[in-house]
């Protein structure tokens, strides 16, 4: 059934349809509406769940682990500072192989304080062992949220569903909301195989003595890498049941492209328009909208680039002291390739700085120039920067 809803509402609906049983709620802009909506559902009896109004995000995820380990489906949501505060527990959650699902409304990181959008927050926790899925619109938010529960429970890994704060979280779009019956069929009942139960006492969270620690970290890495297959499988099954199939990425006009742009999240909508513009002019530009960032689909991405001469990674984050975080992974994917395209990195949109068509055209121009000359003059450039303010002009 079609509903005109915001990204936050879509996320909350996804959790409701998944019949989560414990919701850990802590407010933070711009995700707050998610926990408010869930509070409404619980108060109205629409969602039969325990609603835990924890006193911090750190406790939010901790309570989810306690509940998930005892044997029920859980959910929480956060952004930015909350995500970072939670991050200690995020690493533990993956190490403990807890099947959790969390929404992250992408928001910038302090300091300076910013409630506005970029992807620095989720990028900062990319090492945490969580599967990371990025949504380009509100349809994807609800669809990926539902898929996330199945992925988490069948891989025993925690999954975060990311979507741009304000741009998606607070913007309403037409969304085809899956029917409850369909979701019930798609999501089998929650099962954690080592549930805390007096009938079968288990110990969860033992000390990883040196004789075993490296092996457990290896096994976690193996599980995260292998989850790629499950993500694809679940995306296909979702397509069969609901008519919308999902994969690791969306390739737009990449088949014969000389220049390929790479983005994650809501940027893709506007960038597709620019790609269309250039294609009309006869320029072979393509776009990869990366949906799954962790596990990083290095092989598939390299294949998607095909014979492109230049790849421009456009992202809303910086790994301070290096380049953009997505750029780092793309570079690794192409390391040792026999014929790798030239790589360019564009940092944009920090703190909701507008990403304009003009800026994207600059990106294409630079990439085309690099492809032509075989040289990259400046590997990393910042778009939309007020250059006079920082002394660059």
């Amino acid at each position: 059934m079609k509903q005109f809803i915001t990204g936050n509402e879509a996320a909350a609906l996804g959790a409701k349809l998944a019949r989560v049983k414990v919701v850990s709620a802590y407010p933070i802009t711009p995700q707050t509406v998610i926990v408010e909506k869930l509070a409404e559902y619980v108060a109205n009896g629409e969602l039969d769940a325990e609603y835990v109004m924890v006193e911090s995000e750190h406790s939010a995820l901790s309570a989810c682990i306690g509940a998930a380990a005892t044997g029920v489906r859980t959910y929480t949501a956060t952004s930015s500072q909350g995500l970072i505060l939670m991050s200690e527990i995020m690493f533990i959650a993956s190490g403990l192989r807890m099947p959790l699902v969390m929404a992250n409304a992408n928001r910038s990181l302090s300091a300076p304080l910013s409630i506005w959008n970029d992807q620095q927050d989720s990028m900062a926790v990319r090492d945490s062992g969580w599967i990371q899925i990025y949504c380009q619109d509100n349809q994807e938010i609800i669809d990926s949220s539902i898929q996330a529960f199945r992925i988490a429970e069948e891989t025993l890994l925690p999954v975060m569903v990311c979507f741009d704060g304000y741009i998606l979280s607070h913007t309403a779009e037409n969304v085809d909301v899956p029917e409850q019956g369909g979701v019930d069929k798609f999501l089998p009942p929650y099962k954690y195989p080592y549930a805390l139960d007096p009938e079968h006492p288990v110990t969860i969270g033992a000390v990883g003595v040196p004789e075993y620690y490296e092996e457990f970290r290896y096994l976690l890495q193996e599980a995260v890498l292998k989850s790629k297959e499950k993500i694809v499988e679940v995306g296909k099954l979702f397509g069969k049941q609901f008519g919308r199939e999902y994969g690791l990425m969306e390739c737009y006009h990449t088949g014969d492209a000389d220049v390929v742009l790479v983005v994650m999240g809501s940027l893709s909508g506007g960038v597709k328009d620019i790609v269309d513009e250039y294609r009309k002019q006869g320029l072979k530009v393509g776009l990869v909208n990366l949906r799954v960032f962790r596990p990083f689909p290095a092989k598939e991405l390299a294949e998607a680039f095909g014979g492109a001469k230049a790849v421009a990674v456009i992202e809303k984050d910086v790994s301070m002291g290096s380049t953009g975080g997505l750029f780092l992974d793309v570079s690794v994917a192409l390391a040792n390739a026999k014929k790798a395209p030239l790589l360019l990195n564009f940092i944009c949109g920090l703190g909701s700085r507008d990403v304009t068509a003009a800026q994207i055209r600059e990106v294409v121009k630079s990439a085309v120039e690099a492809a032509k000359t075989g040289e990259v003059k400046e590997v990393v450039r910042w778009l939309g920067l007020r250059e006079t303010m920082v002394g660059l002009k």
Binding site: G95, R97, L156, P201, T203, I204, G208, Y212, F216
Partner: protein, 94 residues
Amino acid sequence: MSKVCKEREKLLPGAVIVEPGCSERTETGSWRSQRPVVDEKKCTGCMICWMYCPDIAIKKGKPVKIDYKYCKGCGICAEVCPVKAIIMEQEGKK
């Protein structure tokens, strides 16, 4: 060297341990430098020593029996015995 549970060969996700109380495979009695010796005639079977053993190394009975596999030789039992029926001796004596 401690003997370990059969779970050693089966690394479960998240390092979960499914055999309760398998710490018993480690015989902490090897830690001792002194050992409690029960005077069987003096022991009244009051169970106070049993109550206060942090290592569950005293078996109920009259007299009580020390489980030397696990006893770490802390000496609490000798201290709390109301009739001084337990003496601490140097390990390796006799």
